[in-house]
């Protein structure tokens, strides 16, 4: 009988994400994945029921990793200005350390291939508590969540994208998202959300 090997499983996951990012979902075949991870097709099926199960498990695992990283040293009770800074730094670090994972999650965002009902509730609760406390203490204005998210986080993700792709607006030099630029942007975002 074949035994489970955590390292092998991790390698299969990592390679699967790379293939999906580089070649799309249709580009992921079990043969290609086996070759790339240096295992047999049969071995992949020991860990994953089928292609759908593989993609669903990748999504769950990456979501969990991202939540853990985002909640590191984050206190949902903290003042909004401080808490948002921690969120920004955590999210940015995660994006820079896991560029494949970020692109993969982006690809899955609007895909029917995964069931998102299994989303990490711990993360949702922490973020929701953080926002509601801040509104209660009159640190930010109450807003529909989509608008809140777009102001609080979309600028961060866009600038991280510029930074990772090493490009920016036409005719401009590569954009480097360094500490002064982070603080400059964060200040504007905080100002926009103030009552």
């Amino acid at each position: 009988m074949r035994t489970r090997d955590i390292n092998k499983e991790a390698l299969i996951r990592e390679k699967a994400i790379e293939i999906i990012v580089n070649d799309g979902f249709d580009g992921l075949s079990m043969h290609k994945l086996a070759k790339s991870a240096g295992v047999s097709v049969a071995t992949i099926y020991i860990y994953f029921k089928d292609r759908e199960d593989l993609i669903q498990q990748l999504y769950s695992e990456e979501t969990k990793k991202m939540s853990d990283a985002t909640l590191r040293n984050f206190d949902p009770e903290s003042h909004f200005d401080e808490g948002l800074k921690v969120q920004w730094m955590n999210r940015m670090t995660y994006c820079l350390e896991n560029p494949y994972s970020i692109t993969f999650m982006e690809q899955l965002k609007h895909s029917p291939l995964v069931d998102r009902s299994t989303i990490d509730m711990r993360f949702l609760h922490a973020m929701s508590r953080f926002v509601h406390k801040a509104i209660e203490r009159n640190e930010i204005v109450p807003l529909p969540v989509e608008i809140y998210w777009s102001i609080a986080f979309a600028p961060l993700y866009q600038l991280v994208k510029f930074h990772i792709s090493k490009s920016s607006m036409p005719g401009r030099p590569p954009f480097i998202f360094d500490e002064p630029k982070i603080n400059q942007t964060l200040e504007l975002v905080l100002k926009a959300l103030k009552p």
């Binding site: 489970r4 075949s29 043969h31 097709v41 049969a42 099926y45 089928d50 292609r51 759908e52």
Partner: protein, 79 residues
């Protein structure tokens, strides 16, 4: 997580030509009726049409016989 299962369970992997949902349905009563098969599925989204079986014993022969008798190709996919 999955890694916690410690039951004496064997995963058997076969390459087949079961490539449509109706073909899967046509073998389902055969597979469901076997006590030694705990669960099974066919991956229709990949070229090998893998039949994956979690069973209480590691013997592939009965499964191959069962699927072949139903009129499909079935061979063990080895490492």
């Amino acid at each position: 997580m999955k890694d916690n299962y410690t039951t004496a369970e064997f995963v058997l992997i076969f390459r087949t030509n079961i490539n449509r949902k109706k073909h899967v349905r046509s073998v389902s009563h055969l597979l469901d009726s076997r006590k030694e098969i705990i669960r099974w599925n066919v991956d229709l989204s990949d070229i090998d049409n893998v039949l994956r079986i979690e069973a209480t014993h590691p013997d592939c022969t009965p499964v191959i016989q069962l699927v072949t008798q139903a009129g499909y190709a079935c061979e063990e996919l080895t490492d």
